[in-house]
Structures are given as structure tokens and as C-alpha cells.
């Protein structure tokens, strides 16, 4: 049936005609996310806003993105005071926002948790998760496929913000998958999800490893910078796998004219999905393609590998970074 990407893409409502899109009772949704200091995060917020605009019965309140958990907690508190119907929350740190999410739930507000998971099952009505670990696994599996005949290959990794748990998950998945074919990460650097930091990290990485066979870069935003650094160095002995799945990288994969041969999607439509789920949950509707009459507790999005072969399928929902 419908993959989550298609469902959340927003540019098509799927082939199934459902009553879900009919206007229902008015739903006020508060949306809070970390600072939009990189393209993927910006895309999350943008997608959420676009999604909300499609529904005449949704009023979306978006607050300043912040990486200060203290401020984010207070934003949620404000939503609670405001008695919104639902809160779509992409916490900077899932555990840190759990208490306030619990408070919101206790106040009868539908909380939809996006991307970074709370540590209490009671803190959210429903959770939309990317699969960070799975993303690493997918990337590692792809690398393994291409390098399985070349033992001793040099695999490098350019991680995102290293202090975030999600980065840890991605790296762990990547390492596990590589282990499966007897490879390991020989050089690892971390950037900050921004173009500039990607360029900086990659420039140094390319010096650290004179010969590389494959690079996995966690984030396509910083990937723009990584590509620039690679171009600068004139190196082309390796292939590169991206992460998150930006439209830029997909176009590059399609044209097959750069180091990117694949990217692993980390759907930037999670925010939009969150909005939809929130609306449905508040209006007591069910999820279209499921038999279940309630909105499910958890939706984990799939992290597929995009290659030249299947890129056309994913390009339309990719985010422009």
C-alpha cells in the first residue's frame, strides 16, 4: 500500500479516496521544533506549515525553533496554557521534553511526538519516528553490496552533530551493517549538518585518508559542502552515499555526474505526518489505509536507499535544502 513517504508527501493524497480530508471540527495545533539551523530541520517546519494550510479546519501555531530545552519546555507550557487541541513536538532532546509532554497529555492535549522519541509511552498519543539506526544499516548495507568483493576497502564516515543521540544511532547502524561484510569505518569526522561544516570536515577528512573507497555522509545538507570539498581536492576514487534525501542529491544521483551514487532517505515529511495524525486523532478519525479505527501509537518511517534505478520514485517528495 501506501508508503509513509507517499502519505506524507502532501503533493498527492494517495489514490484512495477517503473521507479523512473532509473538513471536520476545528483543530488548533501547536508546533515546536529545534532551531532550523540546517536544511532538513527547516524542511520539517516548512512541510508542516504547508500541510496545515491544506486543511481549512486546522489552525497551526509555529513557535521559534530552539535548541534550548528550557525554552522549548516553556513553549509547550504556553501551548498548554493556551489549551490547544494538539501539539506536534519534535523535541531537541526527547527525554528532556518528556515531563512537559506528560503534562500536556494529562491536560487532555493530543501530543504527537516526531523524530526524537520520548522516554515515556504516556507522553504522546502517537509517535512518528524516523529510523536513525535503520538509516545507518541501509547505508552500510549498500556500501557492503558495492564493496563486498574488495576486502580491506577504506570506508569513511562524515557524521552530523556528534552530541545528538540520533547521530550515535546512525553511526551504530552503519558500523553494524559494515561488520556484516567484514568492513569497518576507518576514518570518521563529524560536521554540524551545515554546508560549511560539511566542507570543513570533508576537507580535513580527505587529507586524513589518502585513499578512500566509500564515504557515507549522514546529511545531504552538509553533503553540498562535502561535494564541494571533494571537487576541490580533485579526488574521484570513491563513491559517496548521502543521508536524509535532499532533492539536490537525488538529481545528482539521477544525472550520475557526481560522487553521490546513493542516498538514504530520512523523511523530512515527519512534521507534516505529525500534523495529519494530530488532526485525525483530535477529530477521532482513523488512518485511511488501515483497518484499525484509531490512529496508531507509532509510525516508524522507512529508510530506503535511493539509487539511480529508483530515484524517480522519490524525487517528487524530496526536500529542497
Amino acid at each position: 500500500g501506501n508508503t509513509p513517504q507517499n502519505q506524507g508527501g502532501g503533493n498527492q493524497s494517495g489514490g484512495v479516496k477517503v473521507a479523512n480530508d473532509e473538513p471536520g471540527e476545528k483543530v488548533v495545533i501547536g508546533f515546536s521544533a529545534p532551531a532550523a539551523d540546517h536544511g532538513w530541520m527547516a524542511a520539517i517546519t516548512n512541510a508542516a506549515k504547508t500541510e496545515a494550510q491544506k486543511y481549512s479546519d486546522v489552525e497551526l501555531r509555529v513557535v521559534e525553533g530552539t535548541n534550548d530545552v528550557n525554552l522549548q519546555i516553556s513553549q509547550v507550557e504556553t501551548f498548554i496554557n493556551d489549551k490547544v487541541n494538539a501539539i506536534v513536538l519534535l523535541p531537541f532532546d526527547g527525554a528532556a521534553l518528556t515531563p512537559v509532554a506528560l503534562k500536556a497529555m494529562k491536560a487532555g492535549i493530543t501530543v504527537i511526538n516526531v523524530d526524537r522519541e520520548f522516554d515515556s509511552p504516556f507522553a504522546a498519543r502517537s509517535t512518528v519516528l524516523g529510523d536513525n539506526h535503520g538509516m545507518g544499516v541501509s547505508a552500510g548495507t549498500y556500501v557492503c553490496e558495492r564493496l563486498k568483493d574488495k576486502p580491506g576497502s577504506v570506508v569513511a564516515e562524515i557524521a552530523g552533530i556528534d552530541s545528538l543521540p540520533l547521530t550515535q544511532d546512525r553511526s551504530r547502524g552503519f558500523a553494524e551493517a559494515l561488520q556484516g561484510c567484514g568492513l569497518k569505518v576507518s576514518n570518521r569526522v563529524a560536521a554540524e549538518f551545515t554546508v560549511e561544516s560539511g566542507e570543513r570536515a570533508a576537507a580535513n577528512l580527505l587529507q586524513a585518508a589518502p585513499k578512500i573507497d566509500a564515504i557515507w555522509n549522514h546529511d545531504d545538507d552538509q553533503g553540498v559542502g562535502v561535494t564541494a570539498a571533494i571537487k576541490n581536492s580533485g579526488r574521484n576514487e570513491f563513491f559517496m552515499v548521502g543521508g536524509a534525501g535532499s532533492a539536490n542529491v537525488m538529481r545528482e544521483i539521477k544525472a550520475d555526474n557526481g560522487p553521490h551514487k546513493a542516498t538514504v532517505i530520512y523523511p523530512s515529511t515527519q512534521g507534516a505526518d505529525g500534523i495529519r495524525l494530530a488532526r485525525l486523532a483530535v477529530q477521532n478519525k482513523s488512518l485511511g489505509d488501515l483497518v484499525e479505527v484509531e490512529v496508531p501509537r507509532q509510525v516508524q518511517l522507512y529508510a530506503p536507499v535511493v539509487t539511480k534505478e529508483n530515484v524517480d520514485r522519490y524525487l517528487p517528495t524530496a526536500f529542497e535544502s
Binding site: V63, N67, N81, S163, L164
Partner: protein
């Protein structure tokens, strides 16, 4: 004029400045903050006009105060350091390190076996120790404060990441959360702590020899030295005090989030310094006001709150924030100048 044994009459007074009652009021301690008060009132008016009851609600006010509490405690400590002629960029990192250290499994284990106060104690000790190191580097190692604390920033965050293994540490000490989640006469404990720290800070700065010496050390270190003040020891004490405030802020943040994490306190240094400076404390030292700092913190947090209530575009908020900061400062200056300050 030398050998003037010549009979010279006694008192010559220069024309005294005329004080109207208004300018007297403006020159009073409360008056010195008129600009800030006006800015805050304008902001609240803005809040009421745009968000009506949603802004003026008691719950909303408490939300603002709870948000202000953590950064407020740090800012009060920062007021001392800046008044004493220093600066500390490592406050955020110290908060993070304290929060992580106080929530390790080991610490929590001890806390569970004995009393939750162990967590508070650990955070304060870690914060105080970091402050002590900063102070010693600056006073005895003679490293410029900016650089010394920049180095501490990097080191403390790194250490916090290593200790926590970059994982968020969840607190499971029932007494701890229960205590800090409580309210005293309807006022959340966190807000009470902030109020106590602010009042204690005011007394310490304005009513004790420690406070007097802080002004002297910041205003004219050479004169302070000649007056017999041990400038270096005092400097160490100032940074240690700020470290303790950071430890306390870490406790409050742990209570608020039920977690310790190496990512806590991000960019607190800028927030705290901004609040202190907008409050009227001189970055060059020698002049500082706790009341101003509290107003500074409230202005920034109220701003966030009003923005949150109003659903403005995020980027537009940033632009507006910049403009509002400038207007607040200009207002404060004009009014302060009028008051003859």
C-alpha cells in the same frame, strides 16, 4: 597660589545641581531601571494587545517566570563576574557538565540509597569547582578571562560528552523531582529559587563587604590593590560564585527536564551576558545591578513568550528581536541620561 598665608575665607560651593522631584525619582535605584521597566511594560502591553487574556493569564505569567528561572540564576552570578571586571563564556558548558555529573548512574545510585540532596550537592560541587578553575586560571595564571573561559567551554562540554557518552541521562530519584515540581503558595519551587537567588545576590552585592570589593576590583583594580584588597583571591571567589550558580541552574534544569545532558545550557553564555548588559551592568566592570539583570532576563523571556503566543514567522521573530533589543537599550539610555545618571 603657594605662600598664601593670605587670609582666605572658608567654604566655596559650586552651583549645586538643581533636583526636581522627578529627576530625584529617576536617579533613585528604582529609577535607574526606568528604561527597562518601561520596555518591559511596553512588551507586556504588546502581549496583552496581541494575545489578550492568553498573555495576562496567571499560568502564562508563571510560565514566563519558570522559563526565566534557570537562565536568571546564571545571570545573577554573571552580574558579579562582570561587575568584577571579568567575563565567563563557559557558563553553559558548566551547566551541562554539572547536570551530567549529577545524574550519572553512580550519583543517582547514591542518591537513591541516601537522599536526593546528593544530586544537588554534586551539581554544586562540580559547578563550583569549574568556577574555581576558571578563577585560578584568570587570577593566578593571568590568562585573559575571555580566552580562559573559552577554553573551559570547550573542555567542559567535551568532558560532559565523555561522561554521558553523549546520551541523555534520565533521573529516577523520586524525592528529587517531587521536591522541585512542587509549588509554594502557588508559586513553583523553581521560581522561588530564582527569587531567593536574586534577593541574596542583591544583598551580597549591595550590602556586604564582598559586594563593595567586587565593585572596587572591577572599577579600579589598582586602587583596590592599594586599598589592601587581595584582588586575585577576590577574582577567584567571583568565578567560583558564578560556578555555584551554574551548578544550581543545572539542578533546576535537571528538575525541569528530568534529565542531565551534555547539550544542556547551549549558548547560555550569550543569553546571560545579554541579560546582564541590557540590565545596565558595565561590560568593563565597576558597575552592576542585580535588579537590572532580573529585568533583562524578564525582557528576553517575555519576548519569547509573546512571540510564542503570536504565531509570527520564525525569521521575522529574529528580526523583531534584534530591533526590540536596540529599542530597549536606546530607551534605557535616554531615560537614564535624563535622570542625570
Amino acid at each position: 597660589m603657594s605662600e598664601d598665608t593670605a587670609a582666605v575665607p572658608a567654604q566655596i560651593k559650586a552651583p549645586a545641581a538643581k533636583h526636581s522631584s522627578i529627576s530625584a525619582l529617576l536617579a533613585s535605584p528604582a529609577g535607574r531601571n526606568t528604561g527597562l521597566v518601561v520596555a518591559l511594560v511596553l512588551l507586556c502591553l504588546g502581549g496583552v494587545v496581541t494575545a489578550g487574556d492568553r498573555f495576562a493569564d496567571v499560568d502564562n505569567v508563571l510560565t514566563i517566570l519558570r522559563l526565566a528561572a534557570v537562565i536568571g540564576v546564571v545571570s545573577v552570578g554573571m552580574t558579579f563576574v562582570i561587575t568584577g571586571g571579568g567575563i565567563d563564556l563557559s557558563v553553559g558548558a558548566i551547566v551541562a557538565l554539572s547536570s551530567v555529573w549529577a545524574t550519572t548512574l553512580a550519583t543517582q545510585g547514591i542518591a537513591n540509597d541516601t537522599h536526593w540532596i546528593v544530586i544537588v550537592f554534586t551539581a554544586l560541587v562540580v559547578g563550583g569547582a569549574c568556577g574555581l578553575v576558571n578563577g585560578a586560571l584568570i587570577a593566578y595564571g593571568r590568562v585573559v578571562a575571555f580566552i580562559a573561559t573559552l577554553a573551559s567551554l570547550a573542555a567542559a562540554r567535551g568532558l560532559a560528552e565523555i561522561i554521558s557518552n553523549r546520551k541523555t541521562q534520565i533521573v529516577n530519584v523520586p524525592g528529587f523531582t517531587a521536591f522541585f515540581d512542587a509549588s509554594v503558595l502557588g508559586v513553583p519551587v523553581l521560581v522561588v529559587i530564582f527569587a531567593v537567588v536574586a534577593v541574596a545576590g542583591w544583598v551580597l552585592l549591595n550590602r556586604t563587604t564582598f559586594g563593595r570589593r567586587t565593585f572596587a576590583v572591577g572599577g579600579n583594580p589598582e586602587a583596590a590593590r592599594l586599598a589592601g584588597i587581595d584582588v586575585r583571591r577576590h577574582t577567584v571567589m567571583l568565578y567560583t560564585l558564578l560556578g555555584l550558580c551554574c551548578g544550581l541552574a543545572a539542578v533546576m534544569l535537571i528538575a525541569r527536564t528530568t534529565t542531565g545532558s551534555a547539550t544542556h545550557g547551549g549558548l547560555y553564555e550569550l543569553d546571560a551576558i545579554a541579560a546582564v548588559v541590557i540590565g545596565g551592568t558595565l561590560l568593563t566592570g565597576g558597575r552592576g545591578t542585580i535588579a537590572g539583570t532580573v529585568f533583562g532576563v524578564l525582557i528576553f523571556t517575555t519576548l519569547s513568550n509573546v512571540f510564542t503566543l503570536n504565531n509570527l514567522s520564525i525569521s521575522a521573530q529574529a528580526v523583531a528581536k534584534g530591533a526590540i533589543i536596540v529599542v530597549a537599550v536606546l530607551l534605557q539610555q535616554r531615560l537614564a541620561r535624563r535622570s542625570g545618571a
